[in-house]
Symmetry: C2
Subunit: 213 residues, 2 copies
DNA sequence: TCACAAAATGGACAATCGTCCATTTAAATC
DNA sequence: GATTTAAATGGACGATTGTCCATTTTGTGA
């Protein structure tokens, strides 16, 4: 009949990955042991070795999976908006600060992994991949905006804008990490757009993209 | 004679703290074991229990020590500069991005601890303390600047400027964490001051504080 | 110089870690 | 329904973890 066998197998594999993410979010990396993982996944001890060859590989895979989820989320949002550079940027900023992406669990996972990235090549690689993909997306939008704005060094300005915007978003994430309950998403967005308006007054205002100018 | 006894005791105590920081910087928190620590400190196994009551307390103490070092560094720099708000801000930005403070070891330590902060109350508290002290310092400077600038809602603007500036610096640290060798300190500063110039054109230019206006 | 006490030592200890495999379970095929 | 085989189980294993204390070392004051 169907590949029921393989279906169960893949479900179990995914259970392990999600168990790692749950545990990392809840207890941190250093308390995410094999016992902890298999208990959360409700599977037997041997499964980690069977599916991933060892705990470290599983953790790496969980980091990869988590990174992929983030990028998919941002990318999906991008397809629901207009095609101008400023609309893309607005969507990335809004998406990056939205409840769906910037929430307690994701932030806990992301910072836990990054704290270990320096000492785990595989995790560093995924961290880099996520960063590079996003950076490229943002740069392309700013490059279009800078060209439209007819300013002097459009490439240099687009680079600065990319760098500054991503740095600010990163800082907002840290704010959220440290004070999730008092964090104000609207305020965070307003500050980012204040920066963008200063750089591209024809393209942004304090609430996001300016469409007609 | 002198308190030679106590002097050695305190030196050993400090050796343990520094051994933790070295190990966390080099191998990460999860590989910083008691064996690793005492080997680096060149002391005997029982010393951790003797001085700190246990490994967790020692790690917490190391986090506190590291946080204090950071703040002392920034504060010392502040005393070598002028007294205007914009000079203070410039010094904080320069200091925060200087080799003395933003270097591989400090960054590795800081992010490793913060990755665990969510699950360790003591570390979260020091992280918060460092953040609150700096935030207060920056806000006071911006409040003076905003007042001088005679703008409409000086307190609100000072808050936004504080929030935005610290978020950006935070993001720059992350950049450095991920790509320490290609990181460009001057570029990072220029971007921050570009933001500040946009908010307070009479007080900042792309290279820092404007003194006369 | 000796006796005292504070400090440091290093190994014993139980608990936990991650790995691995002989065995059992159950889906797929005949 | 019987046979085959891939998947899952769960305990054994040695290594390593952090704690703790009986013992040794060493600075201090008599």
């Amino acid at each position: 009949m169907t590949g029921r066998r393989q279906e169960i197998r893949e479900r179990n594999r995914l259970s392990l990955i999600e168990a790692v993410l749950d545990s990392v979010a809840e207890k941190g990396i250093s308390e995410t042991s094999v016992s902890e993982i298999i208990q959360r996944a409700d599977l037997s001890r041997g499964m980690i070795h069977l599916h991933f060859g060892g705990k470290d590989n599983l953790v790496d895979e969980a980091a990869r999976y988590s990174s992929e989820q983030y990028y998919n989320g941002i990318y999906a949002m991008l397809e629901t908006t207009g095609q101008t550079g400023q609309e893309h940027i607005e969507m990335i900023v809004r998406g990056d600060l939205s409840e769906a992406i910037l929430n307690k669990k994701n932030v806990a996972i992301w910072y836990a992994f990054r704290g270990e990235a320096r000492n785990r090549a595989a995790i560093a690689a995924f961290s880099d991949t996520r960063d590079a993909k996003l950076r490229n997306l943002v740069f392309n939008s700013f490059a279009r905006i800078a060209k439209e704005a007819e300013i002097e060094h459009p490439n240099q300005v687009a680079r600065d804008a990319t760098h500054g915007t991503l740095a600010m978003l990163e800082g907002m994430w840290t704010d959220y990490l440290l004070h999730p309950d008092s964090f104000d998403r609207d305020e965070a967005m307003r500050i980012v757009f204040r920066f963008l308006r200063a750089m591209f007054p024809k393209h942004f205002d304090l609430s996001g993209a300016r469409l007609y100018h």
